[in-house]
Symmetry: C2
């Protein structure tokens, strides 16, 4: 079943879908994050690559570095078997969780402030531009 009838994606298809450049996707390949197949020199992306790209971009939006994203992907590919490694990983997960929760709080605070500013704008607009 593996690699059966999956659709192939060309690099430009994916750049259009995700709004990134070809350079970016090649960069991610160089960094070992994705592994498109080749026919000749042309890359052919499987749906698994496509899915990976989605995750990479999400990580990027959150602010993860390439190194961190690579690490996360590694965890999915080969979850650590040894107990010490597992504990270490959970410790790091805990740290990341704390960081993300902080970040979420930051975002929420900022969203609130933006609402305030927006409201102020509206009243200001109402004041000035009654006849606009």
């Amino acid at each position: 079943m593996r690699h059966g009838l999956d659709k192939y994606y060309t690099i430009t298809e994916l750049t259009r879908e995700f709004g990134v450049s070809t350079r970016t996707l090649r960069f991610y390949e160089d960094e070992g994050l994705i592994h498109p197949e080749r026919r000749g020199r042309t890359r052919f992306f499987r749906s698994t690559d496509r899915h990976l790209i989605k995750e990479i971009l999400r990580g990027r939006r959150i602010g993860f570095s390439i190194a961190e994203i690579r690490e996360i992907i590694q965890i999915y590919k080969e979850p650590p078997g040894e107990a010490g490694q597992l504990r270490l990983m959970m410790k790091r997960l805990e740290d990341k969780r704390t960081e993300l929760i902080q970040k979420r709080r930051d975002i929420e605070e900022t969203l609130e402030e933006m609402s305030n500013v927006e409201e102020a704008c509206l009243t200001r607009l109402a004041e000035i531009g009654v006849g606009t």
Copy 2:
């Protein structure tokens, strides 16, 4: 009342409080984000600077660039008076809001996945390390 009896903060006090380097605070000054006073060549920070630094660091955690942060600070300092400017600003606020909401969703998805991974770790640990 202005500049009355406010406390002064030295640069190192603030670096300790916020866990950033002196270089960082001087950099923010160079970038025009904060304006500590001087006695001789030494910087003295007011509580307004301290508050600004808090906001800057929050923006940084969210992923805003220095330019964006400067822009936000500008808005607080001198809200635009002209109607066109106001509209433009609201448009940009809208864009930012969309971006932040997306980012928040990204974070929430990632937090969920982290929970799953953590759970998997726990069961795995239970399997292996019954006697650990």
